[in-house]
Symmetry: C2
Subunit: 454 residues, 2 copies
């Protein structure tokens, strides 16, 4: 798997000479990312592409090649896989569609030809029907869509390119493997890589189906005590199962059996795409939550109440403040204010000559309270420029309290920008609603419980 | 209620001379919004504020005043309410906190004094503890936080200012009423206003609690056949109920009883804050969904499968394409592609010399298919500038098919920007995940069923 994830030299077979938006040129993207390994474009109709010497076939390349990316029409692919294998290339990513995902018999025939080449060889194939691999730490991706690479601590294994392209809140690559049709390289290979990988703190998995479920569950069981695995299993109903068959040729299996097996393996299951994104963000940057009690500082009493509703749904509790915390916050609040948890900080902060310092003081007090296991700030982003001083202070607080998760709910017309900025700083998780923040914290608690039981 | 919502002249009592970010100056905001009514600042220590003549008290103002906004420390408030009432002002918004929301007896005493003034008078009071009212159509809001006013078709009644400040995807004001402690003006008054209001297509309600639940349910029952009411009822558990008592002095009541009553009244219930935002956006811009069948065009087979999972959860179905639709899409697709619903449009569009036109053609075909009741496009936003041509085409399609909801799921690193742009154009609803889009469509179907039964 290392050749796919950390290639030092890459041949791009079927390298295009077109550039720009609709050309989907893998080589062009790699040059833009700043990939430092050796690149060998292969195209029989060109002698130079984007300033690099181009080859008529891989057999002309005399240097070692870690990874070959084949991006050609499907009918040419088996022959090219054969050439690569013969030339001693051990890792091949097949980008194209129309194999086991196709409805015709030719697709299955072409897949069989690939299978025959790699059987009993040292050559491994990723795909077909894939964006391949991505590794932000070496500025590498074989994706034909330009993707956002982000040096975060997320390892991703998926069966669709969507997860490579990523989402507004976060790029899931970190390091990523798109299995596509998974004719050879599969979840087990990916998990073995991430198990050992020092950069990866949490692994996100998008599973449509797999041939070897029991091996997947076995290795998951081995990894979950060490690293959190967050899974979105899709293809729940019969109609979805049929669609998965034609998407990646996968058999989805029974949802109930999957769910039970994943649970027994200690896997964190996301109920939908949004939860996968939310949980992955939380697990990749926050420490675990050791007990159930949350401390909340909120600008809005109304959102404080919504937070309580969220806790009720997710099995967390808003903890009672310790006497010292209570005292400290009362000392700086208007007398008429009933200080409790959630801490309704608006009247207190408004009464202060230095409102921002008061707010940070309240958060500091909550983080220091040994009766609280996580702290959440609820605040709005009211104008274009999210308060960078506050952002810095929050990161400082999180750094000073590395054993207690600090999370935020940021609403308001510019909330999305503020969330992205805070999240990218890599210390504080940020969500647009209290319920989503609480749901993520609840899973941090669940996972720490799981680790305690082991 | 008209005086609160459509005031032609406004006195601002306790009008501040400070300006800028931390001054929370209502008058300053009103001037920025471009409110065209008459403004009378009242402040005994100033003769002019922001270029306007300032008055020592309301009794000095000789012209008619539709609405007085009182923004002073709580102890001064009852006396000022009395002055206003005596001066013939029939609508008063009390901004300040520390009345029934306070923990001390003085707060309750001050509230009683206000109650005594308005009892048997023609004067109505909104608040205390409120941002008041907002009306984008006249560039008016009494909020001390600057809020985004948007001429959309949403009417809002809430018990916290958060909903005035709004969210990244949408400003819920349109027209808004923050009830705050709801000492006098309450949900019934707000609903009566929106029932008659031609600009309001959908009403969003955030309810912590109310004294007169049965009147609220009665009027809801009367309105729901005409306009959708979308409700987030908060304060579900005991801890939340206690918090609501100190937030707005509200009694939350039993969650089960509320839920049953709201259901019987034909109200659409949101399970959390995000769903309230999502449903309000859908109901304020989309036509209803007459039956259960969705047509999906997706760039990603994987997200197509996730959409099927969403349908299974929400009670919708991915419909079978009519023979004509099937034929039309097959005619422009690669032969190996199995065309079905979801329509996996990537191979088809990539095989076309004019990819964008092909995509619009597919959507047009789906919208014209009489066996489908809604259409959803799943696509990514891959770079900073969301495709404005596509955005325009989608709005054009929605305009040409006014009886069928067109919705989108837009993922990708710049998905959030694309969603805001499309949503703001006011024809196509846009969500970041397929499950959220499907959940919103499902409620459009449910509501049309409700209307059919009446």
């Amino acid at each position: 798997m290392k050749r796919f994830m950390e290639p030092k030299s890459v041949a791009i077979i079927g390298s295009s000479r077109d550039t720009g938006e609709w050309s989907f040129n893998i080589l062009e993207h790699l040059l833009t990312y700043g990939y430092q390994g050796k690149l060998y474009p292969v195209n029989p109709n060109a002698s130079e592409i984007l300033g690099l010497k181009s080859y008529a076939s891989v057999s002309e390349i005399t240097s070692d090649i870690d990874l070959a990316i084949i991006s050609t029409p499907r009918v040419l692919t088996p022959q090219l896989v054969k050439e690569c294998s013969k030339h001693g290339i051990h890792a091949i990513t097949v980008i194209g569609q129309g194999f086991n995902d196709a409805s015709d018999s030719q697709g299955k025939q072409l897949q069989k030809e690939i299978d025959d080449v790699i059987k009993n060889s040292q050559t491994r194939v990723l795909g077909p029907n894939t964006l391949g691999t991505a590794n932000a730490y070496i500025n590498f991706s074989s994706s034909f869509s330009k993707i956002r690479l982000e040096k975060n601590h997320i390892g991703l294994i998926c069966q669709t390119g969507v997860f490579f392209v990523g989402f507004a809140e976060v790029a899931l690559t970190g390091k990523g493997i798109d299995l596509g049709n998974a004719c050879d390289i599969n979840f087990v290979d990916g998990l073995e890589y991430f198990e050992q990988d020092a950069e990866t703190k949490a692994v996100a998995l998008h599973i449509e189906g797999t041939k070897d479920t029991s091996r997947l569950i076995d290795i998951a069981k081995r990894i979950t005590p060490k690293k959190p695995l967050i899974v979105l299993k899709t293809g729940k109903g019969q109609q979805a199962a049929r669609a998965a068959k034609s998407h990646t040729g996968s058999l989805t299996g029974s949802h109930e059996i999957w769910s039970t097996a994943l649970k027994q393996a200690g896997v964190i299951q996301a109920s939908d795409l949004e939860e996968l994104i939310d949980l992955t963000r939380a697990f990749s940057i926050l420490p675990l939550m050791k007990n159930q009690k949350v401390g909340v500082a909120t600008i809005s009493g109304g959102l404080g109440i919504i937070t309580l509703d969220g806790c009720q749904n997710s099995g967390l509790e808003i903890g009672k403040l310790s006497p010292e915390t209570q005292e400290k916050i009362e000392a700086i609040s208007p007398q008429w204010l009933k200080v409790g948890n959630p801490v309704d900080f608006w009247p207190t902060v408004m009464a202060s000559p230095t409102p921002m310092e008061s707010l940070i003081g309240i958060l500091e007090t909550l983080l220091a309270d040994r009766k609280l296991d996580a702290v959440m700030l609820i605040i709005g982003s009211f104008n274009e420029k999210w308060d960078t001083a506050l952002c810095q202070s929050l990161n400082g607080l999180a750094t000073a309290h590395p054993d207690k998760p600090l999370t935020t709910c940021i609403y308001g017309p510019y909330g999305d920008e503020a969330i992205k900025g805070l999240q990218a700083a890599g210390k504080v998780a940020a969500y647009p609603t209290p319920e989503r923040a609480i749901r993520a914290l609840a899973r941090l608690y669940e996972y720490s419980q799981l680790q305690n039981r082991l």
